[in-house]
Symmetry: C3
Subunit: 359 residues, 3 copies
């Protein structure tokens, strides 16, 4: 990888993403070949919010490579909660570890951490912003279980407006040729316009479907996500529509036999339990591909062994990001980094448009 850290999957060159996916496939075939590759290396998990699933997946990946673990997953129960800055925590823990895996409710926290770390930083989720290893997991699952990332008809069923993993998957698949997306949700929960633009710009196409039943026969891939009850327009709407977006065995009858059903998990009830034993249910295997993808990623970032603290970048503008969920709203020493776009200044941490440009 040309970057030391994995903050955003979009920063990887296509050849680098390809390399990690191919490597993941090799590992999936013979995981035991790689079991000494992180020996004597320490991975620190800095989980500022609990996420047992993601944390255990990283931990298992590191252990499968022969590595070791330190970390915390409950900042209330730690000196981290005693007002210490993210910078200080990262400066100290990167003295102990060879790779940091960070999860935070604050958008841009992983990028902020990478500015002060002596070792590579992997973003394990920064608020509603990015979760690149989930997307890597999804891609590795398609690559291995479907066999390709292009010329796919991909159904996106559930909350396409707020689903971070859906957005990231759409963005990445739009870079491959000939994909067609079928969005299956209420109009209120449709994909944001900027993503529709990305789809068409990349040469992919999309359509909308009002029910899962109507969409399912054409699909190669069905990516399910949960719609939270409070995201429906009204209680009436919820009662009327709640079953329309639930996958069950009956709806699967008209699906292709080669369909692959993915879900980022945890699920609640958007996939009925009776689907689990259908050979098209791929969501549990998906977590196994996630393990191998993280093993591949860890090996790649551990190739960076320079332990110098990066030189902190200078402010690019005097503006302050106005997004309250941005890491800069809590960590005031962070350099002010913005990109100039047609719409105005965009914060480099959270990628939101700043509302007080140039002040």
């Amino acid at each position: 990888m040309h970057t030391r850290d994995l903050i955003d999957l979009a920063e990887l060159k296509p050849s680098e993403l390809q390399d990690i996916l191919r490597f993941t496939g090799f590992i999936a075939q013979n995981p035991q070949y790689y079991r000494g590759n992180a020996e004597h290396k320490i991975m620190a998990t800095l989980f500022y919010e609990p996420s047992t699933r993601t944390q255990m997946s990283f931990q298992a990946a590191m252990l499968r490579l022969g590595g070791r673990l330190i970390g915390f997953d409950d900042p209330d129960n730690s000196s981290v909660a005693k007002g210490e800055s993210l910078k200080d925590t990262v400066r100290v823990i990167s003295n102990y570890a060879d790779v940091l895996v960070i999860r935070s409710p604050l958008e841009g926290a992983a990028l902020a951490a990478s500015l002060y770390s002596r070792c590579p930083v992997i973003n394990a989720g920064d608020g509603g912003h990015l979760h690149p290893t989930q997307t890597l997991t999804d891609l590795a699952t398609l690559d291995n279980a479907v066999g390709r990332l292009d010329h796919l008809t991909v159904g996106l069923c559930g909350d396409n407006l707020n689903g971070r993993t859906v957005h990231s998957l759409v963005k990445t698949l739009s870079r491959y040729a000939g994909n067609h997306f079928v969005m299956i949700s209420t109009p209120e929960l449709a994909l944001p316009g900027y993503l529709l633009d990305e789809i068409t710009r990349g040469g992919s196409t999309y359509a909308r479907a009002e029910t899962l039943e109507e969409a399912i026969p054409a699909l190669d891939v069905l990516y399910m996500t949960r719609i939270q009850k409070e995201r429906f327009a009204s209680v009436d709407e919820y009662e009327r529509l709640k079953d329309v977006f639930v996958l069950d065995r009956a709806k699967l009858k008209h699906a292709k036999s080669a369909l692959r059903i993915l879900h980022p998990l945890p699920r609640v009830n958007e996939i009925a339990v009776d689907v689990d034993d259908d050979p098209r249910a791929t969501y549990f295997a998906q977590t196994e591909y996630g393990l191998y993808a993280r093993m591949a990623l860890l090996q790649r970032v551990l190739e960076h062994t320079d332990r110098a603290v990066p030189t902190a970048p200078a402010d690019t503008h005097k503006a302050r990001c106005t997004n309250e969920r941005c890491v800069t709203s809590k960590e005031h020493y962070l350099p002010r980094l913005f990109k100039e776009t047609d719409a105005g200044l965009v914060c480099r941490y959270c990628e939101q448009l700043s509302m007080n440009n140039g002040q």
Copy 2:
């Protein structure tokens, strides 16, 4: 072992139990001989209720074999609490691990987990139901510190009505020849009738004693448990009896020199601290035998390397278990499994009689 999982010690064939106990004895003599036997293996601890003692004992056992650890011990601090089913958690984590150790406040949770796991499951306590590795610990202690499991006079002092570990020990020792049990408790806290039946059916015998003092001279083994204050019939009764069931140095005066005092720990004050230095106090050594017993057990279950998800069994009856503490009361997708007995249908998960048979 003929079963992949260890849910209930009673499922082991006598020869299998014998094998594990003998293996435990070998390990106790040279623990370092076994230190690479779980290399590259991962044990996941799924502790739905905290139990530091049990968890650390399993963890130390796995580490002493060269294995690695993942897990959680605080479900409130995890995605597990976000409404995910036990099934999904087990399906996912068994993708990461080679053996699952599960603890739950729900009766039958370990059996339920084993239906969906790709790797062996060990029951580390399922509510008030079973705790087989505690019993294995007790047996290993007798086998090593006393030298036999038969022809023993075993005092059971404390809460014999509610003590899960006492019940399990009595059940297992009743299968060996010539044991005699002396129950030392209030009448209200006597052993349940079905266990008295098991004792006599197996050819063992029992007697009752009202005080520890009266019983102690005849004992080869004294198994102490705590009586919770609220378990006495009244406050008066508690005040009158509380010291009768406390072991101290004075009461030990008339005991055999070969007596072995066991306790599942933690103790509160039912054994006075001045007993700790008596050579007959075996309860701390017991925890060390527990370590070796778990090392033996882990090695045996890790011999099962088939990673297929078991085929879920079909419902045996239409009944629902009516026990609120049964895992089926929370996890509704579980197959309904019952045994028919003279008294009615008995739930296979919690082993309680179901109250709405056949509905």
Copy 3:
């Protein structure tokens, strides 16, 4: 080491301290040479209060030596909270581990633990009493980053009255030749008199300064600590003085180029963030020396392989310690151990003068 345990740095012979510091320096140069030296060994962390920083430092040190980890850091979430005595916990966990690292809010807890442990005990902080590995970290930092422990002019800026790490550092440096201490604090927060006596008794000298600015030009070492707001004599005093004891880039202008700035961390705002990139800022490197110092210490204590439980010492007096923060106030079975001094009986656990001598 002539003692098995590290409870108080003052118990080490000068040659032993010297050995550990020299060993630390070797490790700092080639940490990878030592990476198998604790293979197959288990370190248990018994953290009765959370201290993520200290715990992770010990964990990383043990892992860097190839060792393994068990432990807890949240007693509320453990059977430890269910009324189990420290003695029982230590007796059990020392059956599982090769070294115990204990942290407790109770003064003397590590000494108490060492009386019942089958393996070496390291004090990772016992209330406001001792924190020997922090002092070891400080000394290793001076030894490596400054190059000597004698003939130094050491500024102590912050809360010199309550700072446990400051006291311990002063005590130890007073044993080396020709050190000069400059105390930079409010009069209310000056070093306690008994420490001033230790300084002069050892042949070192001291002076007071009212501001950081005034003191800084002469310093070889500046040891910064935080003053909590409520430690100032009044709110007015706080407002008047709060900036006087804050180190920033401006105040650094008149400092020597060879100055080394230390801080036990975490900091709040007593060192401005703009100091971090100054080459004299040594507080992050200090945490790395702390890692190497703990690696050295762990190797030394792991040389003790006798696993016998120590013979508990007998009461030296009938007195009870009257310090409510002393471990003996909670753990009543502990032997009553006192030293006779001119001022009266001093408790061996918490080193406080007992108020009811001889009762």
